[in-house]
Symmetry: C2
Subunit: 166 residues, 2 copies
């Protein structure tokens, strides 16, 4: 078998390198979208770990609670999370133990307790979120404002056309 | 505190719903990118499970081996995977047990064994890949060819500007 195109690519290796010219545009587009997501997530994970001893699922969870100061039921929290791989119950237990999250029972439904950030949790999240936003601005800084706006629009079209999550 | 904008949004809830108008473009762009990735991944996971009793990490692993018929060392395989959350050693063990993947030792480095698809594994992957590509074409079908090409270009710019993965 003749060497495929992957043998002449530069050293960087990612999900896109599995595509051959024969693959269709939608598949190439999907693999590039996934590669970009991974390439942004990787430094975020590293920085959250190194600078805040935190993780992306933990940051994500606190971000959702920060947006809902009245608190969220566990099932609503779970629907809103965007980073997979975190054990929500385990993460929440740890945040409660650290005093960053408070849990209150719903007297009408004992399984449907509500969680919210404590004042300490708000402070802690706020510091992380400020740095997180600066990291994101830096990671997307290779695109100018007009390219970012164009990309935002196109992804908006795509998103509107995709089936909604359960 | 006054209700935030999230209270007037339609029922669909995803990672983007945590953004307020005050957030910056790069952050909004990132959350939309992540939301799109999640919205594509979710039906892929469901269909791979329901129609092939498979998973996205397992499909990803076989896709990389399919692209490298000469086989891959475990560490190269690991670098090429694009879906996180799979236990690569465990996945490989299972694929070997099912006769879909073969493992061969490197006599020079016993830790650096090579894995490749068996003939059965190639057949199995090929059937999945055909359906997978049709699913992707369907999921991205809300964008016409010109929009797909534009999105592909913009993501290419973004990707080229992002730090490479280790």
């Amino acid at each position: 078998m003749l060497p495929g195109p992957e043998h002449t690519l530069p050293a960087a290796v990612d999900s896109e390198t599995r595509v051959t010219a024969a693959d269709h545009m939608a598949l190439r587009l999907w693999l590039r979208l996934l590669a970009c997501t991974n390439l942004v997530e990787a430094p975020l994970r590293t920085r959250l770990r190194e600078q805040f001893s935190s993780s992306l699922p933990r940051f994500d969870l606190m971000a959702q609670l920060d947006r809902h100061p009245q608190g969220l039921k566990m099932r609503d929290l779970s629907r809103r999370l965007m980073v997979s791989g975190g054990n929500i119950t385990g993460l929440t237990d740890r945040l409660v133990a650290e005093g960053l999250v408070a849990r209150s029972d719903d007297p009408n439904d004992r399984r449907a307790y509500t969680v919210k950030l404590t004042a300490l949790g708000q402070q802690h999240f706020s510091a992380m979120a400020q740095d997180h936003e600066a990291w994101i601005a830096g990671l997307f800084g290779g695109l100018d404002g007009s390219q970012q706006a164009q990309l935002f629009e196109l992804l908006g079209e795509l998103k509107a056309s995709l089936p909604e999550r359960d």
